[in-house]
Amino acid sequence: MDIKNTLFDLSAACSLGNITEARDLAFDILKDFTDECEKTDNLTVIGTIKGESDYTLMLAAHIDEIGFTVTDIDDKGFLTVAKCGGIDLRTLPAKRVTVHGKEKVAGVFCSTPPHLAEGEGSFEDIGKFKIDTLLGEKATDIIAVGDFVTFEGAPCLLQGSLVCGKSFDDRAGVVTLLKLAEELKGERLPITVKIVLTDMEELGVRGAVTSCFKVNPDEAIAIDVSFGNAPDVSPEECGKLGEGAMIGFAPVLDKAISKKLDKIARENSILCQKEVMGGRTGTDADALSVSREGVRTGVVSIPLRNMHTDTEILDITDIESVCELLKKYILEGGVLNA
């Protein structure tokens, strides 16, 4: 499996609400690398790789993406929408989207013409940001209230191993787990691994709640993206692209897991960097750790620039680092043998 090509395929696909293109694509890949693989009713994918013991490590990456849902359609084909996830309204004027109606429709967020501009504009109320469907009065034939809208934008290569695209948050985590499953195929695993592609992370870490209850793991690690270095981001708030797996340290995380991940990375010369957070992590880990009677949980992240835009940027080598780290961690028996 080529990481870049699979990431690009997953990025171009959409998964939001009942739109499950990315989930279905990931399932088709994962089922070939796992002993069992299922799509659950709540839009999650669970792939099992059996090991020598029943001790179960759940690895979670979320398959959903940010977007919008249609709340109103006017008679000239303009849509009012609500946010699904953390959208930066400042980036919306003249931004292209795909409306998932009866068929896919190209749309564009209205931008205020210069002669009507009043100061810099207001970026607080999504209700003021209308989508032009280009369909005029025919919009209601194809689009209904409750339909979903996603960003449009094919992934592309930048220089070296850096790539740009939409929904790398968290298709980067998904592709990491798909590659990991391929790498583990044929290996003798001391523990059982469950690869879980969760839904509704962007709506407030919801899919991880039910999927972790179902999987009932002994230990869990969330694989997500985190802030990458950029000129307008302070160095203490971010990791650096190309400098490897960001290993999470936080009050809500299991210290033994964080330390073991860090130790394995150093012993095996796997590029890594520590990401220290003051409380929760803003990832699936926040829900995994409080599932049922509590689950020992870690986080490993891939540094990413321009998070929650259609121009997210990451370094493919960081995905490779995370994949290698997780493989070694599993082969050493997870935190069980820490």
Partner: protein, 335 residues
Amino acid sequence: MLKTLEKLCLLNSPSGDEGAVRDFIIGEIKDFCQYRIDNLGNIIAFKKGKNTPNAKILLDAHMDEVGLIITSVTSEGFLKFATVGGIDTAVMISRRVIINGNVTGVIGLKPVHLCHGDEGKKLPKADSLYIDIGVKSKEEALSLVSLGDTAVICGDYVRSGDKILSKALDDRIGCAILISLLKEESEYDFYATFSVQEEVGLRGAKVATFAVAPDFAIILEGTTAADIADVAEEKQVCNLGNGAAVSFMDRSTLYDKGLYNLALSSGIPCQSKRFVSGGNNAGAVHLSREGVRTVAVSVPCRYIHSASSVADIKDIDSAYKLAKYLILSIAEKKV
């Protein structure tokens, strides 16, 4: 004409770097008219018609589009830039750009998660923006781009029903119409200029018009249409689908009333541009030499100067027909 328009829109020609569009246009028109390139890079063409009118008629469309120019490179390899022509910050941030037609970059933005207080509700200052081309050092960046290189914001060409969604509709629409007029037989002689540097102050048209010394000028343009959600009728300027927009006044020109009335009474679908805003090459053309009687025929474009402009093909057809009608009527002294 729409095939030509698509090809034109996908070319990158910010002001001062019009070469890509110029080369394409020359390839299209060279067998159908006489032409030359002037000192600034304008194409000045002459179309021989079946008859020679007493008046010299000029049609103009500009080749350049709004863009960016690289001004410096940071120690980490991020590119700082200035805008070339008017582009709002809100339609620049989190967009892809292409530099020199071959290096892809992104205008980055601090994630909203990391914004404190009102920071995430305000646009960043234009001078804080940067282009990320995915390199790790200044040296690596400078091996790919040089200071003074130009860029445009990327935007694919999409057809949806009668609508077109693309970058650079302003003014590749005018170029496509003018190419069509040059390629077909004409009743009367006319001159055509494909001008440079409109977006940085109508500079190409100034010298090209001096060279042609016309009596009449027809400016083919794209203009702002604000017929979008939540905009009051009287502020909509013009409406997609209602035909070419004809101006009586904008911020650069008080137009020739005779030509304006001639256009409106043509029977071809057209509408008045109903707001005094914007401007176009008419501003330079009508003041050339001793003055030139000038009319602007514009195709209404929503979200103009963004990489997601929207136009209606019915209006493009109207503008084409109206330009043709005006040549004929002016030559036959109907104004």
